[in-house]
């Protein structure tokens, strides 16, 4: 046990926790008498500063990760770092959008909870040990429940929280149950050792049960069908910054974890070493043991794409629409995660898993690319919705009528973000889909993956319909009310910046791709 090492590795989380405490002290101590506006602004900016500090320490703390007793507990670098940077940036954006909020008087507490949840997210992305994973997930989830409940005066918010909490508790129980099976089967809580010993011992019916339980627990976090039932209610009733946080930050963290469970052999520090043919032999065995996980993920992915997109068609509330669209996007991303471990077919498994140009890496990159850009776009979308909601008092489709007359800039941002979500070139959403589907087909060109990609593409076409439903109201249909909608300048600035990023990253897709790949070079 090396505490100095542990401290170095957890510097970013520490920075966030310190920032959370500072926010509480400042808000409850110094700013007692200040107006709500000042308190919100100060708290949010302190939170953003905390994220900045965490980013800085993240950069400073690259190393081999933290190991205990010879087993890696917290990983660093590679896609973990990408996900952590994404979590911090998206948290900062959420906080900036919070500046304009009025749903609560307890701003210090809200910002503190957001920061703590973000630090939970950082743990989740980095953890390589079942116990740390579980604690990280709970830290993240508890934060999310509290955020959802923060609009205390709203009965809907309370109801949604309750549903979310009950569902979450149940899922956590499943997850823990699954973890306990894994431990029983392998005798270790470390992901690498679990993988290693399962690879040695081969398949076991109990393993199937364990996988399904784990997928149920994590499927809840990413809102995959059939574990999605909480999502529409929660998205609809939670305060906008909370919903944005759930839709972006929590997703990035959970998908990073899924990537790790799906194939953490990609990371250094694993137990396998030695001759190449030994490694290949091991990988072949290990593949067989993990194959059921891929199958479940494919089923869940297909179900999410279908249910999410079709249900979104019938929504009249834009928040519920975004919830179902989130479910659909989860489906696409899960395809990429399942593909990460699909059978290599011909060629060497060594090439497949361990080469930095191999298909497994490509699909991990594509997943990260998708999650990050999706998180960015969704935060923007929730920002626009919350502005409209405040002006019109509802998030119904009809409250977007004539938006381009009431606030042309806001309508333009909405247009860019929704078209990007629908995957229209040259916006970043197009490249995200393109990369992901290309990676899935690059892993295996068999009929199953081809059919799934075809389904995904067809479903993307369906999704265009409901996104355009909103844009049609904003641009084409006659306005009922033409009074201008005003937005806080910071909110507007953040939204425009997000839209600009969506356009620029779409026009130069190599920028983000290159940035993600640059993290692998550090290894």
């Amino acid at each position: 046990m090396n505490y100095a090492d542990l401290f170095r590795v957890t510097l970013p989380e520490t920075a966030l926790e310190v920032a959370a405490l500072v926010v509480l002290i400042v808000d409850l101590g110094f700013l007692r008498k200040a107006s709500l506006k000042v308190r919100v602004t100060v708290a949010a900016l302190l939170g953003v500063a905390g994220c900045g500090a965490a980013l800085w320490t993240l950069q400073a703390s690259y190393g081999a990760g933290y190991s205990f007793d010879g087993a890696l507990v917290l990983a660093q670098g590679g896609y973990v770092a990408v996900a952590q940077v994404g979590i911090l940036v998206l948290t900062a954006l959420t906080l900036l959008l919070f500046i304009d909020s009025i749903f609560t008087k307890h701003v210090g507490e809200f910002v503190a909870v957001v920061l703590m949840a973000a630090s939970g997210g950082l743990f989740v992305a980095a953890a390589r040990d079942l116990l740390v994973i579980f604690i990280g997930l709970e830290l993240l989830s508890l934060g999310l429940y509290i955020m959802t409940a923060f609009a205390k005066s709203s009965g809907k918010s309370a109801e949604a929280t309750l549903k979310y909490y009950l569902f979450g508790g149940m899922s956590a129980a499943f997850l823990l149950f699954g973890f306990s099976y894994l431990y029983g089967l392998s005798g270790s809580t470390n992901l690498y050792w679990i993988q290693y010993s399962i690879g040695e011992s081969g398949t076991n019916p109990l393993l199937y049960v364990a996988w399904v339980l784990i997928v149920a627990g994590l499927g809840f976090k990413v809102a995959a069908v059939p574990f999605h039932l909480w999502a529409p209610d929660t998205y609809e009733s939670a305060p906008a910054p909370a919903a944005a946080f759930i839709a972006s930050v929590s997703k990035v963290a959970s998908f990073a974890l899924l990537l790790a469970i799906g194939g953490n052999l990609l990371m250094p520090g694993g137990p396998i070493s030695g001759q190449k043919d030994v490694v290949e032999h091991y990988l072949r065995n290990e593949y067989l043991a993990w194959q059921p996980l891929g199958l479940i993920l494919l089923i869940v992915a297909a179900a999410s794409m279908i249910v999410g997109n079709l249900a979104a068609l019938a929504q009249v509330s834009v928040r519920r629409l975004l919830a179902y669209s989130a479910i659909a996007h989860t489906g696409y991303i899960l395809l990429g995660i399942a593909a990460q471990r699909a059978y290599p077919g011909v060629g060497s498994p060594f090439q497949f898993f361990l080469s930095t140009t191999g298909p497994a890496f490509r699909s991990a990159n594509a997943v990260l690319y998708y999650v990050l850009t999706y998180g960015l776009t969704t935060i923007g979308a929730f920002g626009v919705v919350s502005v409209v909601e405040r002006a019109t008092g509802s998030d119904r489709l009809d409250s977007f009528l004539g938006l381009h007359k009431r606030n042309p800039l806001l309508a333009a941002v909405l247009g860019v973000l929704f078209l990007s979500l629908a995957g229209i070139p040259p916006l970043v959403g197009f490249w995200a889909k393109f990369n992901l589907f290309a990676a899935v087909l690059g892993v295996s060109a068999g009929p199953v993956s081809f059919a799934l990609v075809a389904l995904a593409v067809a479903m993307s076409a369906v999704s265009l319909y409901y996104y355009l439903q909103v844009l049609k109201r904003a641009y084409v249909m006659p306005a009922v009310d033409e009074t201008p909608i005003k937005a806080h300048p910071v909110t507007m600035g953040v939204l425009v910046a997000i839209a600009a990023a969506v356009v620029v990253l779409g026009c130069f897709p190599a920028l983000l791709q290159g940035w993600i790949e640059s993290f692998y070079l550090i290894l």
């Binding site: 549903k163 009950l166 569902f167 149920a216 059939p226 059921p292 199958l295 089923i299 079709l310």
Partner: protein
């Protein structure tokens, strides 16, 4: 041919080449800003456009000076800046720009002529309510055209090429309230698109064969020796090599843009746009983009030619060019619209350029391109001045006697006309056209193009004389008396007139500076260049032809002032020929009964298929989807939400939070969760049951 001493190539990009992207970017940004302006901000938009063009001109001059400086030190400057736009699989999609004599010359020409025309437009468009929009489009055009010029990647060139086509469409249809303008815009867009499809095919093929989109890339570019050798080894259909076939496809794109037969039909109609547009886009720059494209890919067109020989691609270019030159000149004889005459003349001159490229090489064609840009812009602006002075009248038969009403316009117009006719020695057109004729005379295949081009020169002199005497000679036959145009229009005319004369100096046989510059050789002043007997005979001969044309024109039209209702002098002599010519040799009619009729039939068929077959299928699928969605919503609202809400409603009457958790229908959610787990486990066992 002169001996070729190739200069040493220079590869590293200088800071000037690094900054070359600014030249197209500045007008584009100006266009973007102008697009945000309100209609009333007329002055701002003009300042933006003219300011950005001035910056581009300045930068172009710097770039040009840089190339000239390198050249005078014995370096063939070709500096490229390339970068990867994105990766698709293993293929790199590269963009980049190039600074070499060819692009430098074009940059200066486009930005200089563009600037003059922008300034002129202030006067010409003074009363138009969409002044702001006009300058926005013009700036966008200038940016896109400059982008075409500097592109080192065939993809970048194609993108700018399409942007140029788009602005051309927007500006032809600028007065969209006029049905003729709207139709002309559509026609231009569709016709050039036919060429562009071939261009796209050529581009894709080139990319597939060479694996790169860049023209020059330190030996790895698609038109450098290595790639060309590969293209030559590959044979396509009909005895063509891949290089030849790709060259022909690209030429089809160039023919569309440059109005070469049989895709020339859009250019005369494009005259529906404002006159500065005709001058800038449809005379000086955009239509020359096709010629420029061929010059840019010349190594590809020329690949496989033996010394002094030619290739299939170049032969096709030559024949199409020569034919277009004569064909359009014939039609120009029998037109009465001042701008249409010039339009056909442009088509004809573009034919000369193509023929020059085909037979004489890059320098010959490009020299005519540059001189033509100046004198044709001059003629168009002069025509604009005439139209402006005559209150919108465009029929030359309703003009006359403007010599005294518009003296400066007359003087400059006459200079432009003489330059176009190729009046000996004093005018640039003489030298550039002589270069083409000389090349045609030496062409190794046959002499027919030479005679065609000489005949074209005769026609050119003839129809220009006819036009000028109609407009400026005789007495005024219109309504309201004409007036001279304002200074802001006259000054650009004078500047252009100066260059229409002076530019010839850089391309005389005694001092072939331009050719040496483009070919990367040293230029020397040597009066013996004139002394070659065959050259003297050619110059004398072509001078004679010009005089003959001028004389014929003067004889037929000189001292009469026919009324608009009277038949034309030529019409009285040879009525059937006149009728055919004035109906533009029935090309449009031919297209109407063949291509357009075919498409009409096809469209009706497709419409039927769409309505009856696909429509039904789509409706069926849509119905299926909406059924699914409804089902989902039903489940969602009635089973899930409905159950929960109903439960909540009922329970909230009686009770507290605890009651809700214990007996509320959140159980449904959790039941589904548990059920899903069981089902998934079952599926796994089933799929691994062996």
């Amino acid at each position: 041919m002169q001996e070729t001493i190739s200069f040493t190539p220079q590869l590293a990009a200088s800071p000037i080449a690094e900054m070359l992207w600014l030249i197209p970017a500045v007008p584009m940004v100006a266009a973007g800003l102008a697009a945000l302006l309100m209609q009333a901000k007329r002055k701002t938009s003009a300042v933006l456009a003219i300011g950005s063009m001035s910056v581009s001109l300045l930068l172009s001059l710097v770039a040009f000076a840089h190339v000239v400086a390198g050249w005078s030190h014995g370096q063939a400057v070709r500096e490229t800046v390339n970068f990867t736009w994105f990766q698709a699989g293993t293929a790199n999609i590269d963009l980049g720009w190039v600074l070499d004599p060819l692009s430098a010359v074009m940059l200066v020409m486009v930005s200089f002529v563009g600037l003059l025309i922008f300034i002129y437009s202030i006067g010409y468009m003074k009363d138009d309510e969409n002044f702001t929009r006009f300058f926005c489009f013009m700036s966008l055009f200038a940016g896109a055209m400059l982008g075409v010029v500097i592109a080192n990647s065939i993809l970048l060139l194609f993108m700018c090429w399409e942007l140029v086509g788009l602005t051309s469409y927007l500006l032809i249809g600028f007065w969209y309230q006029k049905p003729a303008a709207a139709a002309a815009a559509k026609k231009a867009f569709l016709t050039t698109r036919i060429g562009d499809v071939f261009f796209l095919l050529g581009m894709v093929w080139l990319f597939a064969q060479t694996g790169t989109l860049l023209f020059y890339n330190n030996g790895a570019g698609s038109i450098e020796a290595g790639a060309l050798a590969g293209l030559l080894a590959q044979s396509a259909a009909l005895g063509l090599t891949a290089a030849g076939a790709i060259g022909l496809l690209i030429f089809a794109g160039a023919a569309g843009k440059s109005g070469q037969f049989p895709l020339h039909v859009w250019l005369p109609d494009a005259m529906e746009g404002p006159t500065p547009v005709s001058a800038l886009i449809h005379a000086a720059t955009m239509v020359a983009a096709g010629v420029y494209l061929i010059a840019r890919v010349y190594p590809l067109m020329q690949a496989g030619a033996l010394a002094g020989g030619t290739t299939t691609a170049l032969t096709v270019v030559t024949w199409v060019g020569a034919f277009t030159a004569v064909f359009a000149a014939m039609i120009a004889v029998a037109q009465n619209d001042i701008k249409r005459i010039l339009a056909y003349s442009t088509v004809s001159q573009l034919g000369y350029m193509m023929a020059g490229l085909g037979m004489g090489g890059v320098a010959v064609g490009m020299f005519h391109l540059i001189t033509h840009a100046f004198f044709k812009a001059l003629l168009f602006l002069g025509a604009g001045s005439v139209i402006h002075g005559c209150h919108g009248e465009q029929d030359v038969r309703r003009m006359g006697g403007l010599k005294s009403d518009m003296p400066i316009t007359f003087l400059t117009y006459a200079i432009g006309m003489l330059a176009l006719c190729g009046f000996p020695l004093l005018f640039s057109g003489f030298w550039s056209k002589d270069g083409i004729l000389e090349a045609a005379q030496h062409w190794s295949v046959v002499k027919t193009p030479f005679y065609m081009l000489v005949f074209g020169a005769l026609l050119t002199a003839f129809y220009m004389t006819r036009q000028v005497t109609y407009i400026f000679g005789g007495h005024w036959r219109g309504g309201k008396p004409a007036h001279e145009s304002p200074k802001v229009m006259i000054v650009p005319l004078a500047i252009l007139a100066f260059f229409a004369m002076a530019l010839g100096l850089i391309g005389t046989p005694a001092w072939p500076w331009f050719r040496a510059f483009l070919d990367g050789r040293a230029a020397s002043f040597d009066l013996h260049g004139f002394m070659e007997p065959r050259l003297l005979a050619l110059m004398g001969g072509s001078a004679l032809v010009v005089f003959l044309g001028l004389g014929l024109g003067w004889w037929l039209y000189g001292d009469h002032s026919p009324k608009p209702s009277e038949p034309d002098a030529l019409e009285r002599m040879i009525p059937p020929v006149w009728a055919a010519l004035s109906d533009k040799l029935y090309v449009d009619e031919l297209y109407r009964v063949t291509v357009i009729a075919f498409y009409g039939w096809l469209a009706r068929g497709a419409d039927w298929l769409d309505r009856r077959v696909w429509g039904g299928a789509v409706a069926g699928v849509a119905w299926g989807f909406s059924l699914g969605a409804e089902l989902n919503r039903f489940l969602d609202t009635n089973v899930v939400d409905g159950g929960f809400d109903k439960g909540c409603d009922e329970l909230s009457v009686g009770g507290g939070l605890l009651a809700r958790i214990q007996t509320g229908r959140v159980q449904t959610y959790l039941r589904i969760l548990a059920l899903a787990v069981v089902v998934l486990v079952a599926i796994l066992f089933w799929s691994n049951r062996v």
